[in-house]
């Protein structure tokens, strides 16, 4: 292998910065997570005292006031983390080093407390946990969780037929089997693993989800919905846009005019039009151009649109990385007699891609959230199906809409936050390899 080490001076400041940032973010992330868990356990304990149909509010108030509980929880958790991670010196150096900083710290703490207690008040203390319809949720000012419970399967699978949902689960399971070892650097057989994930798995997943083969009845895509659609659109978009983006980025820097102009035209055209317009055109205009009776599957339209879109943005991100590679690297590769493919795949791309990991992940996260736009062409992703169920008269109540949005937001947050954390891990991992 060719050594791709960068000059040490270029690396050091970044390294120090990232190490520090990691500690801080960990603290910031762990504290709320611990708080959520504590509150959930508390909520569950409170729930255990209740008979079905009763409300949490009254029972809690009779035991001890809600504000006091939250304050105690917050105090305990903060004390635990601060005490656990650093002595008083750390507090003095970082949070109370001057009068101004002390005021800022206190202000920040009040702000955090205000936001968190509001969130916990809504989602836990003032929430409704049991009930059969919207009336059960009306007395409480908090979330209407029985609604989410009743509709959970719909939020996950949409209208995918009950008896066939195991196929979705099996697909998720296979995806996990393929992805988890691929994502852990120490696990061997990366090539075989990648072939499974990107070559074999999509075919299996296609037949599992769509069906139409003996033993697996056909499930039309209009029955798909919820998180399933979100994940299908996002994962197809992500997997298709990455190689396409690399090709477009290389094409844009190519010396062959035809290739270059084709790439430039595509990228600039796609970036010049909003995704929502393309989806809208595909759903409203396309059917008018096609002969009667012709119908392109809606989900397919969305998939193609989203993948091409993400590819254009990905291309520009990757091109940024390519431009950051010093000319010397190209020349060195030419000097040792590598051809174009070898030069790109062994020297330029590994360095370029590593440089733009934050940008790539940014595009992926944006893409994941953009999947909600498929709502306008009548496909129901997680957000869409939540919105749709907000109209169910059985559950109409003052807070049911907010509860649905909170739930959808939480699921989106889990995925996006997971992606961003994994990218941070990959970056650290790649920089530590560099030390050798």
């Amino acid at each position: 292998m060719v050594d791709v080490t960068l000059a040490p001076t270029m690396r050091r400041p970044e390294k120090i910065y990232s190490a520090k940032a990691t500690t801080d973010t960990r603290l910031l992330v762990l504290a709320p997570v611990a708080m959520v868990l504590t509150e959930l356990v508390l909520g569950w304990l409170r729930g255990a005292y209740l008979t079905p149909g009763a409300t949490t509010d009254g029972a809690v108030r009779s035991m001890f006031s809600y504000d006091a509980t939250s304050l105690i929880t917050l105090g305990t958790v903060l004390a635990f983390f601060v005490g656990h991670l650093a002595p008083v010196n750390w507090l003095r150096d970082n949070l109370f080093s001057s009068v101004g900083n002390a005021v800022m710290t206190l202000f920040g703490l009040i702000l955090i407390y205000g936001m968190l207690s509001g969130l916990f008040g809504f989602s836990v203390s003032h929430a409704t946990w049991t009930g059969d319809n919207g009336e059960a949720c009306r007395p409480n000012s908090g979330a209407c969780w029985p609604m989410v419970h009743a509709k959970f399967a719909q939020f996950m699978y949409g209208r995918y037929p009950d008896g066939e949902r195991w196929r979705v689960n099996l697909t998720y399971f296979l995806a996990a089997i393929g992805l988890v070892p691929l994502m852990i650097p120490r696990v061997p057989y990366k090539l075989q693993n990648a072939i499974f994930v990107f070559g074999v798995f999509p075919i299996i997943a296609f037949f599992l989800l769509v069906g139409g083969v003996p033993g697996l009845p056909h499930v039309a895509t209009e029955y798909w919905g919820g998180l399933l659609v979100t994940l299908v659109v996002a994962s197809v978009g992500i997997t298709a846009s990455f190689p396409l983006g690399i090709m477009l980025a290389l094409g844009r820097r190519s010396r062959m005019p035809l290739v270059r102009w084709a790439s430039v035209t595509f990228i600039e055209f796609v970036r010049g039009v909003p995704l929502i317009t393309v989806l809208f055109m595909a759903s409203v205009m396309l059917p008018l151009f096609l002969p009667p009776g012709w119908n392109i599957d809606k989900l397919l339209r969305a998939l193609v649109g989203v993948a091409l879109f993400a590819a254009a943005y990905m291309a520009e991100t990757i091109r940024g990385g390519l431009q950051a590679i010093p000319r010397g690297q190209f020349e060195a590769a030419d000097a040792i007699g590598l051809n174009y493919r070898q030069k790109m795949s062994m020297i330029v791309l590994p360095q370029a891609l590593k440089l733009v990991i934050p940008g790539i992940v940014n595009t992926f996260i944006g893409l994941f959230k953009d999947t909600s736009l498929v709502l306008i062409i009548g496909l129901f992703d997680l957000l869409g199906i939540v919105q749709q169920n907000n109209t169910d008269q059985k559950w109409l109540a003052p807070t049911n809409a907010m509860t649905g949005y909170l739930f959808a937001g939480f699921i989106f947050w889990i995925f996006c936050f997971g992606m961003s954390r994994y990218s941070a891990f990959v970056e650290r991992n790649l920089s530590s390899n560099e030390k050798r």
Partner: protein, 342 residues
């Protein structure tokens, strides 16, 4: 190829209806539906009482029942419907392009939609109109008493214009409190930022359930705009138009003659000539419109008569509890009037 694409684009951009009529020269809809084995029914993306998912994700509602009734009449199986949820913007294109066979999506029947869009509205299955909701504590019995009131309304809608017209024609002053989103309007009204809240009456009843204390709010009797909600089909297929229209009339006639989901089998033995004709014991009326003679029996067994469907989805049997009002039978003082089956 490129040329035709350009032409198509230009035509489509000029008037969507122009291309629609061209693409509508398809085989007869009834044959297409039968061949496909299911009815493609365009519904909304969710409207309480009219087209909404239940806990299991199955569609329910007044408009949904209408599609199930057509499927029952054609296939004798109300489950043979594929529901296509459509946004407000794509609903008419979906019908023009043949993606759906019937649009039952609380669409207001207007002359421009009847003419330029290439649609044919079959019959009004729900007479809606803009109404007012006020707090009971205001002690107002009529919208005409709303002199000087502040009214919460969604901006940029016909609702806002109707509101202005109503107060101007009644020479009353009022203070509009406008918001961008419907949710904001409801929240503002619920937080006592205005005395009254206005939107379509069917929406008022659904929004009332979102309020902290629904019973403290009442809907005033005045309806200040006409919103006849009607299912639609493509122009140019009179057979299909007739079938869809008569499915609605059949549900109305069944209610008028007292035929319900429960007693339909007993009614088969009825001596009343009207009932006999309707249920296919006399005459060939079902065959006459391209269906079987027991078409009404199938419909009523599947979804009940119009009154039953109404009460179950939006009326007393639902949480919305919307008064029948204009949707009563003509004999009860309402507007629902079906031509006789004979």
């Amino acid at each position: 190829m490129k040329h035709t694409m350009k032409l198509g684009l230009a035509a489509a951009l000029a008037i969507a209806g122009a291309t629609a009529t061209a693409s509508a020269q398809a085989p007869k809809t009834l044959d297409t539906v039968k061949q496909r084995g299911s009815l493609n029914c365009g519904v909304g993306t969710g409207l309480a009482g009219f087209g909404q998912p239940d806990d299991k994700g199955a569609w329910t509602g007044l408009d949904v029942d209408f599609c199930r009734a057509i499927a029952a009449a054609v296939f004798n199986d109300p489950q043979k419907v594929t529901f296509k949820p459509l946004s407000a913007k794509e609903r008419f294109t979906a019908l023009q392009s043949g993606e759906i066979d019937v649009l039952a999506r609380n669409s207001t029947w207007t002359i421009s939609r009847d003419s330029s869009l290439g649609l044919a509205f079959v019959a009004t299955n729900y007479y809606d109109g803009q109404g007012f909701m006020v707090k009971k504590s205001l002690n107002v019995k009529s919208a005409k008493e709303l002199k000087g009131a502040s009214v919460c309304v969604q901006t940029g809608t016909t609702t806002e214009l109707n509101l202005a017209d109503f107060f101007r024609s009644n020479k009353l002053d009022y203070k509009p409190v406008v918001f961008e989103k419907n949710d904001e309007v409801v929240a503002a009204y619920d937080a006592n930022r205005c005395d009254a809240f206005t939107t379509d009456a069917s929406g008022l009843y659904a929004e009332r359930l979102r309020m902290k204390n629904p019973d403290e709010n009442i809907v005033l009797p005045e309806i200040i705009s006409k919103e006849p909600l009607a299912p639609a089909v493509r122009q140019g297929d009179s057979q299909w138009f007739t079938i869809v229209r008569w499915v609605h009339f059949a549900m109305l006639n069944a209610e008028e003659l007292g035929v319900t989901q429960k007693n339909v089998d007993e009614m088969l033995a009825s001596a009343n000539p009207d009932v006999k004709r309707m249920l296919g014991k006399e005459g060939e009326f079902g065959k006459g419109i391209g269906l079987e003679n027991d078409w009404v029996v199938r419909i009523v067994k599947a979804v009940g008569n119009y009154g039953e469907s109404y009460e179950r989805n939006v009326g007393s049997g639902s949480r919305l509890k919307i008064d029948r009002g204009l949707n009563k039978q003509w004999s009860q003082g309402g507007l629902q009037y079906a031509p006789p089956i004979r």
